[in-house]
Symmetry: C2
Subunit: 216 residues, 2 copies
DNA sequence: AATATTTGTTAGATTAGTCTAACTTATTGT
DNA sequence: ACAATAAGTTAGACTAATCTAACAAATATT
């Protein structure tokens, strides 16, 4: 058996090892806001359970089984977020803390029902992919808005950060997933991006924002 | 703050003190399947928090605030059961273990959304009343089928026991809440009850069953 | 009423998950 | 290359929630 606490460590390892080999004790400690010795002893425990690869003074990594478990927790989290938005009338900036709790519910049928009722979605409300029941995470080929070039027409496909503040900001700016727009200018000085949505007046997005907007 | 474990003790106290003044350590211990010394120290902790009245060698009772808290947990449990059945397609014998976990989710808005989507129901799928947001439990005037007399026409309104086995038994016998029927005979010898639903052939229910069926 | 049994309490141990303080190993900067 | 700094580890303490063993109080039985 695996406790909610242990699940949270696996999830953090998974999230921090995207585009990277290992995760350092320091990174994990900061990300979870838990002191290093605590992280350390938990890593040893998860290593004993065969979910983490642990070698003294080296970064940690998930074992194949650990990776699968982590993906399944993320699956439950993202299905829950989608369910809260699509079936319960929540806004996309309200769902994270609730999903954070519901992802630990132990009932396969509960999440299967959600999946069915949602019509087997591939992404959550923030455009993040939902891992399969086998723990496979489909790779989605989004790029940062800040890496695009002037003149391109792109579609807003996902956000790379789901903090309530950022999501609220986008909601207030009427920026929703699926929205298509043209890049009319990128400011050399501060990297801010001007976009134009059909005939509406152009909107300026700072680099801080355009870094977190993923488009296709 | 109050932990899920503490919530479970409050719920148990509430359930066991229906139609009774206090709850003994022994009863609680058996009901929760937790040893007496553990129950004892938890009662002291809840007494420190002002939720339980504790006096050495006397039965425990909930304080006014403890009673309110307990009712709110039961509210979350019952709303969840109703949501699982009405909105997610579960059967009434499947929902208890899931609701047992979801009742501890900390998010008022989550349960308010459920309540709204369900149209503010007054009972759960087993006919048990849902406490109000103020922690008030409406009293419903059901009586046991086994206490009725021959010739009465009654409506199946609730069950007094929600074990999956019993609920499955009723489901297989096509006995659902809201069903009306006439009591055609009560056997003196074993207390079994014969009922007749419209023109269908009569059904015999043992005393064990008719004790747990509540009608109006 | 005296004793036996059941019920309740206290004491001490255990595991999970956290911390701080102290120490060790790695990395970095001159 | 070596000292300074950062990162990782070990040791020891704490709280929550559980247990067993031993003791005390209440209740039941003869």
């Amino acid at each position: 058996m695996i406790s909610p606490t242990e699940e949270n460590y696996l999830k953090a390892l998974f999230a921090l090892s995207q585009n990277k080999d290992g995760v350092t004790a320091n990174e994990l400690s900061k990300h979870l806001d838990i002191k290093m010795p605590t992280v350390n002893s938990m890593m040893k425990r998860l290593a004993d359970k065969g979910l983490v690869n642990y070698e003294s003074y080296k970064p940690f990594s998930l074992s194949v089984e650990g990776k699968r478990r982590a993906a399944l927790i993320i699956r439950k989290h993202r299905l829950t977020e989608m369910f809260l938005v699509q079936k319960m009338g929540f806004e996309w900036d309200e769902v994270h803390p609730i999903a954070e709790q519901i992802e630990h519910i132990q009932s396969d049928i509960f999440f299967e029902k959600m999946d069915f009722l949602l019509g087997y979605p591939h992404t959550d409300p923030h455009g993040s992919p939902i891992p399969s029941l086998e723990g496979e995470l489909p790779i989605i080929i989004n790029k940062k808005l800040s890496d695009c070039i002037v003149g391109q027409e792109v579609t807003f496909n996902a956000v790379s950060n789901s903090s309530p503040e950022f999501l609220k900001f986008l909601k207030d700016k009427k920026m929703a997933l699926g929205l298509s727009f043209t890049i009319v200018n990128i400011e050399d000085y501060d990297g801010s991006v001007d976009i134009k949505i059909q005939d509406l007046p152009k909107v300026t997005l700072s680099k801080i924002v355009s870094d977190k907007i993923l488009v296709v």
